[in-house]
């Protein structure tokens, strides 16, 4: 058997969903399910080597070609950019990027330059650049919802799933920015050098998505 294809999975929910998908495809993923503290695992019958990493690192590993494939959220892809092929929308891990602010306050009102708090400065910047609007962006690491409540920011750009956190804190979605779901990404050279194996895998994944 040839050298296994190496796939990086985003630890946590996307990892579980991907394992579910691989099992649906008929592969034995016991090694990944019972991984303990190991970070590199084998799925022998699929000839896959699974690497578990944080979302942003999945992109880094795939870009540098040390992993052939990766499963990562569109949110991370939008924030990081980079050179890789984004071949399949896996359909799970769905949520959206939105601009939110205090309920009942007109976000766009007034002349002042708005301050935006976010964990995703690049997404926020390109969203407002697209509108030709100057904003000040403040990077926040934890609960972004705090920033408008503490009057540090006029609005936030963040991932919204159900919107309940926003609601409980007196915030509301002002504008949708983009829909998010998990994507299968491929290193540009791997796709060319191992075309057949990767295309076969992509086809089988696509068949099992519907």
């Amino acid at each position: 058997m040839s050298k296994p294809l190496r796939i990086a999975l985003t630890k946590g929910r996307l990892e579980k969903d991907t394992v579910g998908l691989l099992e649906k495809m008929g592969f034995d993923c016991t090694a990944v399910r019972e991984k303990g503290r190991k970070l590199i695992l084998q799925i022998k019958d699929a000839n896959l080597e699974v690497v578990l990493a944080k979302a942003a690192d999945v992109i880094t590993y795939v870009e540098h070609g040390v992993c052939d494939l990766g499963v990562v959220g569109k949110d991370t892809i939008m924030e990081m950019n980079g050179n890789f092929y984004e071949v399949v929308d896996l359909g799970f891990g769905k949520c959206r990027f939105a601009l939110a602010g205090k309920k009942g306050v007109d976000f766009y009102g007034g002349y002042g330059v708005k301050t935006i708090a976010t964990k995703y400065p690049n997404v926020a910047r390109s969203f407002f650049e697209g509108k030709g609007m100057d904003v000040e962006i403040v990077k926040i690491e934890g609960s972004v919802e705090l920033a408008p409540l503490l009057d540090l920011a006029n609005g936030i750009v963040d991932i919204v799933e159900t919107g309940s956190t926003l609601k409980e804190n007196g915030l509301e979605v002002k504008e949708e920015i983009a829909n998010i779901s998990a994507r299968l990404i491929v290193n540009m050279v791997s796709l060319k050098l191992r075309q057949k194996e990767i295309e076969d895998l992509i086809r089988r994944i696509e068949e099992n998505l519907q």
Binding site: E63, Y85, E86, V189, S190, K192, L193
Partner: protein, 399 residues
């Protein structure tokens, strides 16, 4: 404040010993390939006026250029590419030279990369430009040279890919949408972003061109690609492009016995000044292409001289990095160390030169006494010590 006096700027590094040996070996091989095909070397300045690269601002986004200002306030850049400066030279000093011109270079290019991505901002590149011919033979010459370079730099574990932007450009001409949308489509095809491309094109309605564009990023692989492509979309122009490319593909497949030759009709880079056949080279173990090039028939006319051209550049850094992975030791100890007794310095230098003329690597001892010479020779693995003093007669072997 001198916070940064012990380190090099991000994206740059010092190369030491073995790294230099590997780099020079590769350069030597490639030099040889270029020279034996009649190419002549050109060195252009590291600094150029910004205007040289600003003929079409899309080729080199200003965010990625290292910029400086000269003593008269004019904007300079560290060259981000060697083809533009060579186009400038061809359109000026070489305007009256007999065609075709076969030119090659071995110099660094500079790009600002986003920080902390582990990419080099300074990349050693070697490449050729074949100027003044739009013939099939010229394309074949450049591609076969590219194959020779890849094959010399790897254990034949390489892949060369050809494509032609003309197929994509022709379809885009028939698409009735704004430039923004076109650029978006191009980007999604380049990134092989199948889902987003499908969504975007579905929103434009359903017709022959649209459904062909959706499949474009998947049009890569072997010879079967040509058939798929002509089934998807065909008019007199694309038929001609495809049949030329197919002929080229068959020709180079005959030529190359070891590496893999593939086709990708979805190669549609933004920075392209390419007008026809394009090529990319990949080596196993390196995550990006190591070689890229193609035909750029309109570029030199931007400098006022309308002449067709084709060429490629190869990333010497990348190849060096791959070869360095073998961890072989390449630096060798020197052969002889010569120790001069007091008053015999000149005699010792003359003797050392005599040995060097015979091809030996000879070092002069800088220690004061023989004991420390012996210790030094042992540490540096030098097998022979020659002592030049009043009773000098021959050499001394160091065990």
């Amino acid at each position: 404040m001198r916070n940064y006096y012990l380190i090099t700027p991000e994206g740059t590094k010092d190369l030491l010993f073995d790294e230099c040996i590997i780099r020079r070996e590769i350069e030597g091989k490639i030099h040889n390939i270029f020279k034996t095909r009649g190419y002549c070397e050109l060195i252009t300045p590291g600094l150029e006026y910004y205007d040289v690269f600003n003929v079409n601002s899309r080729y080199f986004p200003q965010e990625s250029l290292y910029k400086l200002i000269d003593n008269r306030g004019r904007l300079l850049v560290l060259r981000p590419d060697s083809t533009m400066p060579i186009a400038r030279v061809v359109a000026t000093r070489l305007k009256d030279a007999a065609l075709p011109l076969r030119l090659y270079y071995n110099q660094c290019v500079y790009t600002i990369n986003p920080s902390l991505t582990g990419r080099s901002d300074q990349i050693a590149q070697m490449g050729i430009e074949l100027i003044g011919s739009s013939s099939k033979m010229a394309d074949l010459e450049v591609i076969s040279t590219a194959i020779d370079v890849l094959s010399a730099c790897s254990d034949d574990n390489f892949s060369l890919e050809i494509g032609d932007v003309g197929y994509f450009k022709e379809m885009m001409c028939l698409l009735d949408v704004g430039d923004d949308v076109k650029e978006n489509i191009r980007y999604l095809i380049e990134m092989k972003n199948y889902p987003a491309l499908n969504d975007l094109i579905d929103s434009l309605g359903d017709n022959r061109v649209n459904s062909a564009l959706k499949q474009l990023p998947r049009l890569f692989g072997g010879e079967e690609v040509f058939e798929k492509a002509s089934e998807l979309f065909s008019n007199s122009k694309t038929d001609e492009i495809l049949s030329n490319l197919k002929r080229l593909y068959k020709d180079i497949s005959k030529l190359n016995s070891k590496g893999r030759i593939t086709v990708d009709l979805g190669m549609v880079n933004r920075t392209d000044y390419y007008t026809g056949v394009i090529i990319k080279g990949y080596l196993a173990g390196y995550g990006e292409e190591v070689l890229s090039g193609g035909r750029y028939d309109k570029l030199i006319s931007e400098f006022g001289y309308d002449v067709p051209a084709t060429g490629f550049a190869v990333n010497v850094n990348a190849i060096s990095a791959l070869i360095a992975k073998d961890n072989k030791k390449r630096t060798k100890p020197c052969d002889v160390i010569v120790f001069a007794g007091a008053g015999f310095e000149i005699k010792a230098i003359k003797l050392a030169n005599k040995m060097r003329a015979k091809g030996k690597v000879v070092e002069m001892a800088l220690c004061d006494d023989l004991k420390s010479v012996r210790e030094y020779a042992k540490e540096k693995n030098i097998s022979e010590i020659v002592i030049v003093d009043e009773d000098y007669s021959g050499g001394e072997k160091n065990v």
